[in-house]
């Protein structure tokens, strides 16, 4: 079967029409709602009975909190903690959606560019909006690094502007393409098993153990990638927010 068939968006039911465009509740929306429900439900349930001595589930939630908070402090300093809700929401949302994708038969929401681009653009416009609101015109100092000889300053400024504008592109593409490529690779290796078994008979079943082992190993790797990409997305978010908080160095 076509390895990109798994990314197909299916309409579950139609909500209505806005100017001739059909607005439907899709499997993508269903999984996003499920992810948000799991995150909020889990956090509320665990912290409802919070004690001074944390239990197993409470210490897990506190570990995730500390993990994201440490990363944000390192990336954007103590002032960056005002963006903690944004960064934590992005991290937990992407992590849960990535892990959802690894369950067989589930839809991988983060393998669609429209989702990751929306998340990246939220970060991009937050950086611009907060930077200009807080620093005014001085925000544009992030394009002009200090200590650069005057002759090459225009060139460096041009490069800085291009690199700033390409941020949402690489930010969203990274998550999207990692999830897409990982799931396609899994599907391709899994289809080798079927091809061998139907093509070569009993011998094919024996040789089919090799791609099966590979699929299991790749699934383990995909768990690492699912976590790492959520971490990278949140890490880059905190580094970009650092520009809005402390421009010009």
């Amino acid at each position: 079967m076509d390895p990109i068939h798994q990314f197909e968006i299916k309409k579950l039911f139609v909500l209505g029409h806005i100017g001739g465009v059909e607005i439907a509740f899709t499997n993508s929306a269903l999984f996003m709602f499920a992810a948000v429900a799991i995150i909020i439900g889990g956090m509320v349930l665990v912290t409802a009975g919070a004690g001074n001595v944390p239990g197993r589930s409470q210490s897990l939630v506190e570990m995730i909190y500390d993990f994201v908070a440490d990363m944000l402090r390192q990336g954007a300093g103590e002032e960056g903690m005002r963006f903690f809700p944004l960064v934590f929401a992005l991290f937990s949302f992407i992590l849960v959606l990535n892990l959802f994708g690894l369950i067989p038969g589930f839809f991988t929401v983060t393998s669609h560019l429209v989702i990751t681009a929306t998340l990246a653009l939220i970060v991009f416009f937050t950086v611009i909006g907060y930077g200009i609101a807080k620093h005014g015109f001085r925000f544009f100092k992030i394009f002009v690094p200090s200590g650069i000889p005057i002759f090459i300053l225009p060139l460096v400024t041009l490069i800085e502007i291009i690199s700033f504008l390409s941020r949402p592109l690489s930010h969203s593409m990274r998550l999207f393409a990692n999830m897409l490529a990982g799931h396609i690779t899994l599907k391709v290796f899994a289809s080798f098993i079927g091809m061998l078994a139907t093509g070569l008979g009993v011998f094919g079943f024996l040789v089919g153990i090799l791609p099966l082992t590979m699929t299991v190993a790749l699934t383990a790797l995909e768990f690492l990638v699912a976590f790492l990409q959520a971490y990278v997305f949140a890490l880059l978010t905190s580094i970009y927010l650092n520009d809005a908080l402390h421009p010009g160095h």
């Binding site: 990109i4 690489s170 593409m173 990274r174 393409a177 790492l228 890490l235 580094i239």
Partner: protein, 75 residues
């Protein structure tokens, strides 16, 4: 020659770019490991920078992969 051949050749050529990013990612992790063995106590503090460098380098590989995917499935 059938023009669809050129599509597949182009997708293959686009993947060459991933080799360069592979060299870059290898350099980053290799140097991190070499430095971490010399001074293990400083290694944990540089983990964020390691992942940041990895992510920025990997973006280039992702771009060539996206070009290959576009050629295969979208064009």
């Amino acid at each position: 020659m059938d023009p669809t051949f050129a599509k597949y050749i182009g997708a293959g050529l686009a993947c060459i770019g991933m080799g360069g990013a592979g060299v870059g990612v290898g350099t980053i992790f290799g140097n991190y490991l070499a430095a971490a063995i010399r001074n293990p106590s400083a290694a944990d503090g540089q983990f964020t920078r390691l992942i940041f460098g990895f992510a920025v380098t990997e973006a280039l590989a992702i771009f060539s992969l996206v070009i290959a995917m576009l050629l295969l499935f979208a064009v």
